[in-house]
Amino acid sequence: MIADKLPMKTYRGTILSYTVSFCPGSRNAFRRMNDTHRPRPHCASGARLLSALSLLILLCSLLLSPAFAQDWVRTGSGLGVEKVRLAVPDFKPSNSDPQNDELLKTFNDTFWNDLDNSGVVELISKSFYPLQVPGQPPEVTFGAWNSPPPNAAMLAFGNLGVAAGKLTVQGWLYDVKNTASPEVLGKQYTDVPSSDAARVMAHRFADEIIFRLGGGIPGIAESKIYFVSDRSGHKEIWVMDYDGSNQRQLTHLSSDSLSPRVSPDGSRLAFSSLTKSGWDILMFSIDLNRVVSFPRFGGTNLSPAWSPDGAHLALSSSRGGNSQIYVCDASGANLHRLTSNKGPDVGPAWNRKTGAQIAFVSGSTGLPQVYTIEADGTNQQRMTDQGYAVSPNWSPNGQFLTLAWTRKYGPGEPGSRDIYLMDIASKQWVQLTHDGGSHDSPSWSPDGRHIVFESGRSGKEEIWMMLADGTKLHQLTFTGHNSQPNWSWK
């Protein structure tokens, strides 16, 4: 049974118990910290504690009210109120090479944007920074950073310079409240002097910081988003960096290609395309940059989905009459039917943690609803209670579904399709988008902190992303119509 309205208390309880069980041992470590009331964020013995606490902070801030989150954070992690207060002054030029200015702008913009989007730090506005910002460790004046106005817990700084045909970036992360031993991280990157290289370096250093301040979960700055775009005149599969930069076309089939799904190892892309024989599953090798062979099943074949081990695909096929969910090997062999419902079944999504269940959409009772079924075809369960529910996508931790849902549908109910998050065990849900027209195709980021989706809120179908609590909503595509985003697995 699904509660009509989410009882916040119960939901918090669910999340908390999940958090604790996700990090065994964190409870004891936590209690120890409560006794001492002493911040020890970076010592070796506190490493697990730090990651456990940061995870708590993350989940609290993502899914609970700030007031509740503070109870957990104030107990002495030394990391600030809700999120780590991080100051990120622009990196400085390390020499006077004329290429530095442009590369610095690319680096600084990308780096700031990555940290801002991460959801694990609170970036301190640059207007609070002292006039003299450091480019090297000796230039750090602790008092100017660790007390108000910036009142930073952490400081990320560094320098960039082109010399002898090489671009070098040095970056540091300092715990500015720990003046005795401030260095958390020091990194150096060298590559050819290009804006692409500067962007990659910014992504890498941002990911290092997010990994340390975000509970040991790898950052997503180097992840990719696959999507459908019609800007070439046909619906083709495209790819972009997670921040919307570097958009490029992968397929050139001059037909309709839909539902891109990248394999867990990032080497292949399964999608559905209109061929001479109808809608077929096609396979694109990202390594070879071309379509490779994959069997034709007959009927209408849609919405392929990779199992988390990359060994199987689930898909929708009407080869036997109605559209039903089928499973086959990654090669297309051993195709067998999983569901046997009356209505069209489509849009399968595997449990990304266990690979043991598949969520899918079925119209067998009228308007489409989201169901789950064991990967062996048993125990079909209806998840949504009403309305028009489509496009389920499983969170990386296996705990949640995100889906597109019009909860009230019908004459006199001009509800729009919004993105929702549902706790699988309790079927409790929260609405993540509001008042923005029609939304669809949500897909989780590898770190489980973000969701990318398509939305008509700008007036036409474009790709947007947000934190998994519905905040930090921003648009990634602007040219043509863009839809069905699929986030890479890492």
């Binding site: 109605n322 559209s323 489409p368 496009s391 597109a404 069905q484």
Partner: protein, 244 residues
Amino acid sequence: MKHQTLKALATVIALAAVLMLGACHKKTAPPPPPPPAPAAPTASISVSPDTIAQGQSATLTWQTSNATDVSIDGIGAVQPGGSQQVNPTDSTTYHLVAKGSGGTQEATTRLTVTPPPAAEAPPAPSPSEEDLFGHTVKDIYFDYDKSDVRADQQASIQADMLFLNQHSNIGFTIEGHCDDRGSTEYNLALGDQRASAVKNALTTAGVNASRVKTISYGKEKPFCLEDNEGCWQQNRRGHFVYQK
């Protein structure tokens, strides 16, 4: 003389004033609107003449009542009643959908366009099988999110079946289409189910299944692009395509 001109002017002004007053007077006290009774809409459509030669035009006339939303296939949203000059190059069936609070009513009329007088060699070739197919075989329309053939579409199915059984050498494709409110993937599966439903209706009635292909276009190839029920209905259909 000047005096006379002034007098004439005064007369004109006085006359105009009287006319305007009269006009104003007419506007008073409109009768109170009758209590709303949700009556079923009615619709009729006709074309005159119903046969023209290519290049000529005909007048399409339609009348509806109790309808808030009226549209004609190929023309779009129209006033509840009216007429319009049309000059299609091929024979055309005009399909009127009138939608009101009391329901939906449809009406069709057909304008036959004869080819231009054959000035050259082949004197009046009989219409090709493809033309006959295009003129005779009717598309099947569906309700929202449904893939079963509605009762009001059975007449079309019967007519299609009759023609297809008379021309048993024709192969054809049934395209399943959906309106654009649903989700892309689900609509493709739904369109597949609609095409199959039409195919099943024909094969049960004796049309050989090997003549029939099906394809779903979901919401990828809409017939009509407006955001209203008349348009959505146009897009929820099984569409017949002659196979060469």
